[in-house]
């Protein structure tokens, strides 16, 4: 079992922009656990972890918000911790756990 994702990794090369909309990648499943969630990507078969319950809330809120800041607010992340969560999300983007949403056609 490989703990593949380090959530500290920077995502600069992936065009990370928290002013844009994101969502959980469709091939990825979250399993709630007492510490946060297990993350499994059915395509890469990689297992990783969301290490806090708040990060799980943020990731789930991404799809319902027009940008990452909205998701942070909806998940009630204290402003002082925003940067830490933004860094974690950038790492999740470069790992393919989350992905930009604008190219996805959405049906209401």
């Amino acid at each position: 079992m490989a703990c593949a994702v380090s959530t500290e990794r920077a995502g600069a090369e992936t065009g990370w922009d928290p002013r844009r909309p994101y969502r959980l990648s469709p091939t990825v499943s979250l399993r709630p656990e007492p510490f946060g969630a297990l993350v499994y990507d059915f395509t890469t078969r990689r297992l990783s972890f969301l290490k806090t319950l708040a990060l799980v809330r943020v990731v789930k809120e991404l799809a319902a918000n027009p940008d990452v800041y909205g998701a942070l607010a909806a998940a009630e992340v204290p402003a002082a911790e925003n940067q830490r969560y933004l860094d974690a999300l950038a790492g999740l983007l470069s790992a393919g756990t989350i992905q930009p949403r604008e190219n996805v056609r959405e049906w209401a």
Binding site: M1, A2, R31, P34, F35, L38, R45, K51
Partner: protein, 393 residues
């Protein structure tokens, strides 16, 4: 609380679930951890297996490691494979290659969410067949050729490290590279028939050092099932992976008759948590068994707590201790500091006998001859009787 500490106290569902579908096997490997050979008449039916898969889906067990016995000799194996994949339970299955024909390889290559692990315990037929039986090297090789030709890349070649194959580590890596596969090496355990050959086959102290250094050099390209964490006491650099015994915490085993054990190497009543046929099913066993609750309690280092290496090796493998007759809260029989030697000397000499595996499905009751390189042991040929794994195909 650090993430790894949550693993100590257990998760809502296992991360790494092994499911042995049958005790039937066309081979009779000397070190078989499940003493496989004969099919158990109480084996879970197709419908019962599907009910387990439904439950795993509900628990979000994302994938299972299917083994045996030889799982592909179950007539419904391919049906169950498809059923699992259709229910968001990915499958990695271990096989000796007997059923991996060119047609099957092509079909598997076109299937998402399936991974294959070919067992190979020697980089040459001589070394492999001495442990796995005559013809088993060629069978595995044909399966790997069929997978490679079908375009199935990244399948696993799974090697149990023994005294006879540690010197072949580079050759194993070359074989994996040749087939565009990934090498996986794991630790030999004194479980099942492995107890009978442990003294002959487990790596020497020098070989343990070689394995550790080789793993450090080859990094994350080589999988280990995190099985070598007891070697972490050899140096200051920990091997990649989780440094803990996951038994009952993040790992467990469902055996062919539905019994749930704490880990695949602990098929013994002592580590039996329940059965998937019990009311409440697997979920109830995982979440409420007394055994698992006990394993999730903080463990003390026991005789190891005064050792400076305890933080890095965690006392090693529970199953290895149990089946060599050592106390579970003391050193691993392969303790790299040599701390198990005095306790091991007492086993059998007034210190009690090591427990025998109590679930033998071996096809022949006769005690085997010692593992002799180049002279594969002659076995009774399979007969087309109802206990033969190849009957009823």
């Amino acid at each position: 609380m650090k993430l790894v500490e949550h693993f100590h106290t257990g998760l809502d569902a296992p991360i790494c679930l092994t499911w042995e579908l049958t005790y039937a096997c066309n081979l009779a490997c000397e070190h078989c951890l499940s003493s496989s050979g004969r099919r158990d008449p109480r084996e879970l039916s197709t419908a019962e297996c599907k009910a387990v898969i439904d439950e795993l889906q509900r628990m979000q067990v994302f994938y299972v490691n299917i083994g045996g016995g030889e799982p592909t000799v179950r007539p419904d194996f391919w049906e169950l494979l498809d059923y699992a994949i259709d229910h968001q339970v990915g499958v990695k299955f271990s096989t000796n290659g007997v059923r991996i024909t060119p047609d099957r390889a092509t079909q598997l290559a076109a299937t998402d969410y399936v991974d294959i692990q070919i067992s190979l315990d020697g980089a040459t037929a001589e070394v492999n067949d001495a442990v796995r039986g005559p013809g088993s090297f060629d069978m595995a090789w044909r399966a790997m050729e069929n997978l490679a030709e079908a375009g199935f890349t990244g399948f696993k070649i799974s090697v149990v490290m023994t005294r006879h194959n540690v010197s072949q580590l580079d050759e194993f890596k070359a074989i994996a590279d040749r087939f565009n596969a990934q090498l996986r090496i794991t630790r030999l355990r004194p479980s099942g028939r492995g107890a009978d050959v442990w003294d002959e086959l487990h790596p020497t102290h020098e070989q343990q050092l070689r394995i550790y250094e080789w793993l450090l050099d080859n990094g994350e390209q080589v999988l280990t099932g995190d099985s070598f964490f007891h070697l972490n006491a050899l140096g200051s650099t920990p091997l990649p992976g989780l440094n803990l015994c996951g038994a009952g915490r993040v790992v467990c085993l469902i055996d062919p008759i539905g019994d749930v054990y704490a880990c695949p190497f602990a098929i013994h009543d002592e580590f039996l948590a329940g059965n998937v046929r019990d009311s409440g099913g697997f979920k109830s066993v995982w979440r409420s068994s007394e055994l698992f609750a006990r394993l999730r309690q903080p463990q003390t280092g026991g005789a190891c707590s005064s050792c400076s290496a305890y933080d890095s090796c965690q006392g090693g493998c529970m199953a290895a201790k149990f089946f060599t007759g050592l106390p579970l809260d003391g050193p691993d029989p392969e303790c790299v500091k040599g701390n198990a030697e005095s306790a091991l000397a007492l086993v059998g000499a007034g210190g009690g006998q090591p427990p025998k595996p109590d679930k033998d499905h071996s096809r022949t009751g006769a005690r085997r001859a010692p593992v002799s390189l180049g002279l594969p042991t002659v076995r009774v040929p399979d007969r087309p009787c109802d206990t033969s794994p190849l009957a009823g195909r």
